[in-house]
Each structure stands twice: as structure tokens, then as C-alpha cells.
Subunit: 436 residues, 2 copies
């Protein structure tokens, strides 16, 4: 395995810059461990910047271009790394590279979560690898673990903290007692959240990652639009506080598991979840990510690390490049492709079963609790506990309830009933709870 | 990849039985994800038991034997799984299989930690795979992660909780306040510790795993005899208690890192370590294992799961069998072998630098503290803090000190000085502390 493999890099932003740095600075180590890998061409719109970076890193074998065809048309380039993100023109670039028989490495979760299946297919047709470890949980090698090391397992459950921004905000709320808005602001000041934080806060980013994880775990074509999503915008410091009193922490969790109700279905969701403090995921704080996997043989496992950032993401990109390079040297590119052989539908959220935490503001009058209990009973929901009742300055009382496992549709029905009760001022919070 | 791969299994104990169960019960899933894998022959000394298990699992394509040559001489068998443990005759079996060009999968840490390099070499000569994921941390896919996904990283540090028995005992001591002996007894009752627990308690088991981890992380030939080892037999409940007060938990940790002092050296050790409670490893309790890895690109990561047990270990064995089978189908067996290209010596423990926690029993007299401080100063050791001083019923006082980072040889010199002081009754504990 002494052959030199030429790589073309598209994009020189945060992740692209990191990938270039890792591949060039650790080139000797990588070469001794596997194959000598050279970044031959970099495609980036800002040509002077690209040339300056190349000079700065002393890369005498590397040239710059603004046209991606210079990479995809180059017969000496074996692997194309796409790191510009978004659907267009990333999709066209990846397609061009695969059609030219080049293996592709990407960190583009948007692309994989929406166009994954067709790109796996295209890669297989052209005997090329299509690898995307960096698209989920940054540097954490969870996709390769699911595809290879855990391949003998039926996956019982995946629970992922796969968005660093929201995990930072919730960790801050938990440790400082502050409310959502100031914590979001702090995340923005630190560069952990974007100016428009919708993608992270509303859970869309996590949903894309869960679509990818679920596709691999269940060998099914799960796209981001199939994932039920709730964000963290409504989580208040009161909920964080009650959670702590009850022995829980609140995390934005992506969940994937086979449906207990229907054999052909999987649950794939993203929502805030109360996790028992002794659960391994509960200790995953700040911008760290972690994916908790239960396999029927393996039992419980967890993979923890940095889910974003220039170098951690570059570590995953470079790992994929090394894998693709080894396959090329061995002549087996395309031989380890992902197989989406299972037809699985995603269970509608109404059919999922969960335990719920419900915080209500009610009139502080006699018989209120009886009316509330009745509303739940009418939807066949039994309560685990009625935890708190405190009277506010407004004259309203706060009640916190935890249900047993309920069908979500029934829960929604009960909530509609509560809204109709004159003694109920509002249903302030509704958060799922991990537990039997 | 529709070919059928025949496997021969040697050993049908806890792990062997688990491997047979996973490979047979999940055969369809494995086949759809990769290659159809059939256990063709099982070699086990108790023939009636083997035949009974085969019948019980309804394996019509499987036969039993007591002679391993029936497996290694069978041209239809492509992969041999060795799960009897120990050096002899496992070594001879593995050698015979590799010499016959068969890929070998093993969980045998004793074998890999002592004869690894020669077996890697033998596998390379015969273009066969030699895979041993299950030898370290059971079901946790840490070896593959180091070899593949993290291959672009210089490994800055590995800290592993890689022995479930000792982690259970220390967790129990910590949660119940009990002392070492009753917790060991409880571990034995639960089957977590053997009747003769020396291998686990004294850290030898962990040392073998660290030799394997360090060999992979630093591409060097590190054998178990090169690993400095201290066990947990001397840890008292008082130390656990002080540790908690100071914000630490005590874990038996295996450590591997490049030496800061000498470029050609690595530190590879196993010893009880005080870990800050906020460190991810601090929350790893009971029989769970975890390997914390810091890479220069990846940053901090952790891999958590069950380090022992029939099915978790079988998950790793089956993952390796799947990898070996894919390589055979692709004609690339032996193409991904581990490369031990680096000459690295292991730094003598005396040359390592660490922070220390020291618990002393001293006469409760004036000027004692001054004499002790002088003993440390004479060895050029500066103290971070003098934490506690309490007078016991015996009239002796207890002093707890934490040093700054010190060269271990200097620390030992200071301890010898302390022993010579008439005011010092004994040095009750000496435990390394994670920290700058």
C-alpha cells in the first residue's frame, strides 16, 4: 500500500480549512498508517484566499481553482471531498464526482438526509464510495460503528444528543438557572449559535442527523421530512428546575427505535426529553454530542465527543478519506456500500407511546384536581404522580403531573380537554419523559 | 457480495456460546447487511455439550469436533474464531489457522498482549486478517475506531476504564461507603469477580488491554510486561471519602500517552487515579467500561459500553467476523493489517510526572507539619494543598496532601524521607491525581 492517492477538496470554510490542515499536517502519519494522501486541487470561490492558504501551509503539490469540474474531470484525482454544505450546487458536484467514478467524502447532512438513497445508488453504479461520517455528530465515529462493528446487532434504540447549540443552551439553563433567551444570546456571542438560530433551536438540524442514523441502523430509506420534530424554544427555567427536583435533566434528544406496535414501522423523532440523571446521556453537557446505542447483543453503549468545529469534523472527514483511499488501493471501492434493503415506514407521532411531564396553571379553587384527573381518565390516561402544587402571586396555582406511558394521540385529546376546562388557565409545558 | 462464508469456532464457553448465538440468531440480518456467514464446525472438548447446543439452536449446517485440526485443515473454512483464552494451546491454534491462510478472530487479550506482533506478522505473510476487537473493552468498538476512523489523529492521550470487576468494586465502595473486602466479596457473589481475583484486582487484566490499545494508538510493539501496574487492593474507604470531598472519584485507569520528556517514549500504565467528578470517565460506574481518547484533530471523545459478558463480547467477535468475511469476498484479506512501524520505548515510571494525593498518619505534636513540608522540599516537590488534619482516637493525626506535578522518582524519594521521620507513623495512601 505505497501508492499515492490524489484528493480534490471543494470548499475551504471552517470544515474545509480544518480538513486541509489535518490532511497536510498529519500527512506523514496517515501515509505510514495507510496510504499517502495528497490534496491535489482545491475548489473555492475566493481564489486569492485559497492560494494564500496553500502558500501558508507550504503545499507545493496543491493548486487552486474556482471551477469544480477541474476536480471532477481530473483523471488523477481519485477522491473528491465536498465541504460547501447545502443542497445546490453540492448535489451536482457530488453527482459529477460519482459519475466520474471518484469516491466522495462529505460532511453535508442536508444532502445525505434528503438525497441519500439516490446518492448511495449512484455510488454503487459507479463502484465508488460515498462516505459521510462527518455529517452526524462531527468527530464521533458513530456511522462506521453502526455499519461495521455493530453490524451483527439488531438496534433496539438510538438516542442522540446530536446538536451542540441546543445542548449548550440547555446545559447553561440547567447550570445557571437562567431562562432560554439569555442562554441563546450567550450561545450566539460565543459563536455556538447562528444569528438566525432556527435550524438548531427548532430541531431541524438534529432531525437531519437522525434521518441518517435511522437509515443506517434500520437499513431503510428515512429522509428528514419523515422525522417528527419539536424544538427547545418553549422550555422554561421552571421546567428545568422541576426536572432537577424529580431526578431528570432536559436534553434535546433524537430518538430512533423499531415500533413496538407495528413490525414494519420505526419511530424517528427529535424532541426535548427528560432523562434520568443516572443515564449516561444526562452527563453530556455544553457543546458535546453523544449517541447512545442499544444493540440486542452489545447492550447499552455510548459514543461521546465534539459534534462540530473545524478540527473534530475534519477528523471524521480525514477518516473517511483514509477509508476510501484504502479501498482504492485494494481495488474494492464501492464494495462496502450501505444497503437500504428494508421497507420501513415511520410511525406517526400520534401512535407513539411516551410518558409525559405536564405543567398546568389552574385556578386555585376546590375540586380543580378532580376535574383535571377526570380529563385524563376520559382519554384513558393514568397518572404516575401529581408532584407539585404551588400558588402564585397571580392567584393561579401550578400543578405538575407525570403520566404513565400513553399513546400520544390520547395525550393530545386529554390536553384539548384540559384547554376546555374553565379552571385551567393554560397548559404551560408538555415534555416527554424517558422511562417505563 | 452474495457468497457464503464458512466459519470454524473454537471454544464454547461464555464468549463462544454467545458468539454462536449471535451469529446464528442474527444470521439473516448479517447476511443482508454484508455476507451470509455460517458456523460450519465447532471445536470444543465436551463433545456431547457441543452437539446438544447445536441441536438446541437448530443448526443443521454445523458439526462438532474435539480436534482443532478439523477446522484449520478444512479448505471450506475461511475464518477461524478462537475463544478458549490463555496462551497455550490458543497460540498454536491461531498459528495453524493463519498458516493455512484463514483469517482469525479472537477475544484473547493474553495472547494479543504477549504475542501480538508475531501474529500480525504471520497474518500478513499469509494474507489473512487477524482481528481482536473483543480483546479490549468487550463490545466497545474502540480498536476499529483507533485503526480506521481516528487514523488521521496523533493520539494525545488514552485513558481507559477497561476492567469491569475493579470498576464495580470501586463504584460500590463509593456508593455504599463500604471498604474494599466486602465489596470484593459482593462482586464474587454476583459473578463479577473470580474466586481468585488477582488478575483483575492487581490490574494485570487491564495492563494487557492497555498494551493492545497503546500498540494500536502508537503503532508500536508494546507488550504487557512493559506496562507499569498498580492494583486497587490498597484503596481504603477513607481515600474514597477524601476524594469525594475534594471533587474526585477513584477509578482504576489505564493510561497511554506520548512522553512529554522524551520523543521516542510513551507512558503506558495502569493505576488507581483520582478523576475530577466532571470528567466523562467519572460517571462510568459498575461493570461498565469506557475508553477516553484525545486526538489532536478529534479533541476529546469517549467510547462507553459493556466490557465483558457473553453477548456484548460476542457482538465484537461477530463484528470482526463480518469484517473478515467482507474482506474475503472482496479478495482483500490481510490488506488492512496493523502496522507497527514505530520504535517506542516505555518510559520508566520513575521518569513519569504526576500529581499525588498522600494520606499520612503522624504524631499529633508541634512542628510535625514543618518536618513533613521539609521532606517534600528536599526532593523538590511543591505542595498544591494540605487538605485535612484530624486527630484519631489513637492519638495520631491524619494529614492529606496534594502535590503539584512531580517526577515520580522524586516523589518516591520524599516518601522514603517521610518513612524515616520519627513523627510519621505511616504513609497510608499514595494515589495519583488527574490534573495539571
Amino acid at each position: 500500500m505505497q501508492k499515492k492517492i490524489n484528493v480534490g477538496l471543494i470548499g475551504l470554510g471552517t470544515v474545509g480549512g480544518g480538513a486541509l490542515q489535518v490532511l497536510s499536517q498529519n500527512r506523514t502519519l496517515i501515509g505510514r498508517r495507510s496510504v499517502d494522501i495528497v490534496v491535489k486541487k482545491i475548489c473555492n470561490l475566493d481564489l486569492p484566499y485559497t492560494e494564500a492558504r496553500i502558500a501558508e501551509l507550504g503545499l507545493t503539490e496543491t493548486t487552486a481553482t474556482t471551477d469544480y469540474h477541474d476536480l471532477t474531470d481530473d483523471p488523477e484525482i481519485d477522491i473528491v471531498i465536498e465541504l460547501i454544505g447545502g443542497i445546490h450546487p453540492a448535489l451536482e458536484m457530488v453527482q459529477a464526482a460519482l459519475r466520474a467514478g471518484k469516491s466522495v467524502v462529505t460532511a453535508n447532512k442536508d444532502l445525505v438526509a434528503s438525497h441519500g438513497a439516490e446518492l448511495f445508488q449512484l455510488a454503487a453504479e459507479h463502484q465508488a464510495d460515498f462516505l459521510f461520517e462527518a455529517s452526524v455528530a462531527g468527530g464521533i465515529p458513530i456511522l462506521k460503528a453502526l455499519k461495521d462493528s455493530l453490524a451483527a446487532n439488531n438496534i433496539v434504540e438510538i438516542m442522540g444528543i446530536v446538536n451542540g447549540t441546543t445542548n449548550y443552551i440547555l446545559s447553561q439553563m440547567s447550570s445557571t438557572g437562567a431562562d432560554f433567551q439569555p442562554c441563546l444570546q450567550r450561545a450566539q456571542e460565543l459563536g455556538y449559535a447562528e444569528a438566525n438560530p432556527t435550524n438548531d433551536i427548532e430541531g431541524y438540524d438534529a432531525a437531519r442527523k437522525m434521518a441518517i442514523l435511522a437509515s443506517i441502523a434500520y437499513n431503510a430509506n428515512i429522509t428528514e421530512d419523515m422525522v417528527y420534530v419539536e424544538g427547545i424554544g418553549k422550555i422554561s427555567k421552571f421546567d428545568i428546575d422541576y426536572a432537577a427536583q424529580l431526578g431528570y435533566v432536559i436534553k434535546l434528544v433524537g430518538l430512533a427505535r423499531p415500533s413496538a406496535a407495528a413490525e414494519d414501522a420505526v419511530e424517528v423523532c427529535v424532541y426535548p426529553l427528560m432523562i434520568p440523571t443516572e443515564h449516561p446521556l444526562a452527563a453530556v453537557n455544553d457543546v458535546f454530542n453523544a449517541v447512545f446505542v442499544e444493540g440486542d447483543a452489545l447492550g447499552q453503549s455510548m459514543f461521546y465527543g465534539r459534534g462540530a468545529g473545524s478540527l473534530p469534523t475534519a477528523s471524521a472527514v480525514a477518516g473517511d478519506v483514509i477509508a476510501a483511499a484504502r479501498h482504492i488501493v485494494n481495488g474494492t471501492q464501492g464494495g462496502y456500500g450501505l444497503r437500504l434493503f428494508a421497507k420501513r415506514r415511520v410511525l406517526p407521532i400520534g401512535d407513539c407511546n411516551n410518558k409525559f411531564y405536564i405543567r398546568l396553571m389552574v385556578q386555585d379553587k376546590p375540586k380543580v384536581l378532580a376535574q383535571i384527573a377526570e380529563a385524563f381518565a376520559a382519554s384513558e390516561i393514568s397518572l404516575d404522580s401529581v408532584i407539585q402544587k404551588r400558588v402564585m402571586d397571580s392567584g393561579l396555582a401550578e400543578i405538575v403531573l407525570i403520566t404513565h406511558q400513553v399513546r400520544e394521540a390520547n395525550l393530545q385529546e386529554a390536553v384539548a380537554r384540559l384547554h376546555r376546562l374553565s379552571c385551567v388557565d393554560c397548559v404551560a409545558s408538555l415534555i416527554r419523559v424517558k422511562g417505563a
